[in-house]
């Protein structure tokens, strides 16, 4: 049984909620219990947004300070605001073209630039998660995330586009 607390941070409209739903879908396919929380309403209008995903035997979706196993950041500006939620020894994976003094280079990925280069500007979240799924700390494999994308697609066209974005992200991993 997987046990993992993930915090996903970004801006409204970036697909933070979609990404947390994708990970939950992967958890469902793996037969894991989970509970997640997403921001709605006013916060969705371009403001700072977080989603919390707790996989394992939990009752509340909320993640306390210094307790997240993984922090996934879709907008680099949101890293500083959320890093204090990560537990000692936890992992931060950040979509950023710039460097951070307290993060190793291999934890950064310029997902926005890559997505834009491939004409997938609206699928930054998927490009990023294709890459993140190859990282050791991530709770599910790339293949499990692929299955989750298929389960969640509302049309074959969206499925194809989303799988492509995920694959582009995966290829960024050496």
């Amino acid at each position: 049984m997987t046990n993992c607390k993930l915090l996903i941070a970004g801006l409204g409209g970036q697909g933070v909620v979609f990404l947390s739903r994708l990970i939950s879908q992967a958890a469902l396919l793996a037969g894991d219990d989970f509970i997640t929380y997403e921001s709605h309403g006013m916060a969705m209008r371009g403001g700072s947004v977080t989603s919390q995903v707790k996989i394992g035997n939990y009752n509340s979706p909320l993640i306390g300070e210094k307790s997240a196993d993984i922090l996934l950041v879709l907008a680099a500006g949101e890293y500083e605001r959320n890093r204090h939620f990560v537990r000692p020894g936890g992992t931060c994976l950040v979509n950023s073209a710039q460097l951070f003094a307290d993060l190793p280079l291999e934890n950064l990925m310029a997902a926005t630039d890559i997505a834009v280069d491939h004409g997938l500007a609206k699928a930054v979240n998927l490009v990023f998660s294709g890459w993140a799924a190859r990282q050791q700390a991530f709770p599910y494999s790339f293949e499990q995330m692929q299955e989750a994308v298929k389960m969640m697609a509302v049309s074959p066209a969206i499925e194809t586009a989303n799988l492509k974005a995920l694959e582009i992200g995966r290829q960024q991993t050496k």
């Binding site: 409204g12 509970i35 997640t36 997403e38 371009g46 009752n59 306390g64 300070e65 949101e78």
Partner: protein, 611 residues
């Protein structure tokens, strides 16, 4: 079978599994997804149900109550401030009771994240003398929705289900039960002494209600201090919690090292009002000290009575504003066990503030506010509840009280200046279409009657945008997708006696500017009156509206001086400062830009151009 469900969907599921046939709601974060889920899941299972977006919460509750008068099972769904709107019906219904089960779902928003207040609907239930369940997880909310229906029917009283935002918007894997067609048929038994009770009968009904509440407070099903939960060795410290506050506390205790967590015994309250009387007394006797953890007001704590050995919100152990989080509860545990050294975490103090919410790129309200300020400079802009509350970012909103208040306030601003012989500043009431139908209409009838003069600026984006684009009566589309009769804003305005009504596309800024100026002139004219300006353009979050938009390619030329006017006065998320530009010149974020072209004419240097 397991399925991923949002807390709101889980509650809808619980209602359907227990034969709820009628659900009425008005959208409001965090409750908005319950009604659509009720209709969708009912339709997926082929059961005959009715779900409707009522025009406001009072009407929703009155409708659901009436269905329950006929013996059918029903639900009224709203957010916590919506319960304020429904209060008149809510307090009366507790006395009258129901024949079929009636659940009132009132979703709270501690924080607040998307509301005017942090009020606790359980406290409202206590005022109304309505029993209330407080679910902890989506799984439990699904079960409690059904329990609430069953209990309501059993005791013949409405029952409240009170989720908080953390639960409404949590997703969890849930095992589902079947949904079957409810077989019962409506039957109205005439009982005028009950359904139309006069004060004399109301007194009798009140006495009956009190007896039922006493019975519930002694009902073993709601005993939260049963032997079963107390097999662990005695500990000096007991924690009583309900709902999401219980879930947080339970997770926190399980994350602590054993030698720390075993000092505490956690008790879970399912029904915070009326609180099981004996259970409270048992725990006060069993433990040296008790901590009560609940959101957002001390409902359980007040009912426990003896406050000498209890800590919680009343003695300040838990702050009396803001949402709970693990850090607050951890600090409370330290206080409870009288450890002086509360661990502090300074890291978050340095965390920069988040990006504030802003109107979406392409939002027609942006032009409406930008032009309003130009048309009525030094005006008073009375605002209202909706996306357009964000007009405050554009410095074009002076008030935001509650649903529909923009019109009452504009009227009263006028009267206040006019009656005191002062010169009257330009006054505008800014209100969206859905809010206007919700509670703007009586305010408008009143304002005209009183002789108030202002510009009624109706921001008509043909939807309830803030809460996820629910339909409004204007187009007549209903919650279940069926088409009802349309009721245009113009028709309502004419019916309210408004004689000057102008419709304009807010993207046409110069036309809007002239219209607003003319409207204020009319409002000042001795033969004039309230002038309505309808800024009509669909919300781009509606896919069909988005398709209609002919996207333009926008660019910023070298004429940009980096003055920052566009970012401040227009605040479109697609306008951003160029990276590493010493003069802070602006560029267009092509990913965010929808190509609406609203920004083209605003640059003082003329640097924003269509390619």
């Amino acid at each position: 079978m397991q399925q991923v469900m949002l807390g709101n969907e889980a509650m809808a599921r619980g209602l359907l599994e227990k034969g709820c046939t009628f659900t009425y709601a008005y959208p409001g974060t965090p409750s908005s997804e319950i009604l659509p889920a009720f209709i969708q899941q009912g339709s997926d299972h082929g059961v005959e149900i009715h779900g409707h977006w009522s025009v406001n919460e009072k009407i929703a509750l009155e409708s659901a109550f009436t269905a329950a008068m006929t013996g059918m099972r029903s639900a009224a769904v709203m957010k916590q401030v919506g319960l304020n709107v429904a209060a008149d019906a809510f307090l009366s219904i507790a006395y009258l009771g129901v024949s079929g089960g009636l659940v009132v779902i009132s979703a709270d928003d501690p924080g607040p994240n998307s509301s005017q207040t942090e009020q606790d609907s359980r406290m409202f239930a206590m005022l109304a003398k309505v029993a209330v369940f407080d679910p902890a997880t989506p799984k439990e909310a699904s079960i409690f929705a059904g329990r609430a229906l069953d209990l309501s029917e059993e005791i013949g009283l409405p029952v409240m289900l009170r989720p908080t935002a953390t639960l409404c918007h949590a997703r969890q894997n849930i095992s589902l039960n079947t949904i079957t067609q409810e077989q019962r048929k409506p039957e109205f038994i005439r009982q005028p002494q009950r359904w139309a009770a006069t004060p004399k009968h109301r007194f009798m009904l009140h006495q009956q209600l009190n007896q039922k509440l006493l019975d519930l407070a002694a009902d073993p099903r709601f005993d939260f201090a049963t032997e079963e939960t107390c097999q662990t060795p005695p500990s000096p410290y007991g924690i009583i919690a309900s709902g999401c506050a219980w879930a947080l506390t339970a997770d926190l205790l399980s994350s602590l090292p054993n030698e720390e967590s075993r000092q505490f015994i956690l008790y879970k309250v399912d029904l915070p009002y009326p609180l099981h009387k004996k259970a409270g007394q048992t725990l006060l006797a069993r433990h040296e000290r008790l901590l009560v953890v609940e959101e957002s007001m001390p409902v359980i704590e007040y009912q426990l009575g003896d406050h000498k050995n209890i800590c919680g919100r009343i003695d300040g152990t838990i702050p009396d504003a803001g949402a709970l989080n693990p850090e607050i509860i951890l600090a409370a545990l330290y206080r409870l066990s009288e450890k002086r050294s509360i661990p502090t975490n300074k890291d978050n103090v340095d965390a920069p503030p988040g990006k504030r919410p802003s109107l979406c790129p392409g939002c027609p309200h942006r032009s409406s506010f930008y032009v309003l300020k130009k048309a009525l400079p030094k005006g008073i802009y009375a605002g209202d509840i909706g996306c357009y509350t964000l007009g405050i970012n554009l410095n074009a909103l002076d008030s935001c009280l509650c649903m529909g208040a923009s019109i009452s306030q504009a009227g009263s601003f006028y009267q206040t200046f006019a009656r005191c012989g002062e010169s009257i500043p330009p006054i505008a009431a800014i209100i969206g279409d859905s809010t206007f139908y919700h509670s703007g209409i009586p305010a408008l009838v009143n304002a005209r009657w009183e002789g108030s003069r202002f510009v009624l600026f109706l921001l008509d984006n043909s939807t309830t945008a803030m809460t996820g684009n629910q339909p409004t009566p204007a187009a007549g589309l209903r919650a279940d997708g069926s088409q009802g009769p349309a009721l245009e804003l113009e028709t309502v305005l004419k019916g309210c006696g408004i004689e000057k009504i102008t419709v304009v596309d807010p993207y046409r800024q110069s036309e809007l500017l002239d219209t607003l100026k003319t409207a204020w002139e009319y409002a000042q004219d001795p033969d004039g009156g309230i002038a309505a300006v309808i800024a009509r353009r669909g919300c781009l979050m509606i896919p069909s509206e988005r398709k209609l938009l002919q996207a333009l390619q926008i660019t910023i030329t070298d004429d940009c001086t980096g003055c920052g006017y566009c970012m401040k006065a227009f605040e479109c998320p697609a306008l951003m400062i160029k990276a590493k530009d010493p003069e802070n010149r602006v560029t267009i974020d092509q990913v965010t830009c929808v190509g609406c072209g609203q920004c083209v004419d605003i640059c003082p240097q003329g640097a924003i151009k269509i390619v």
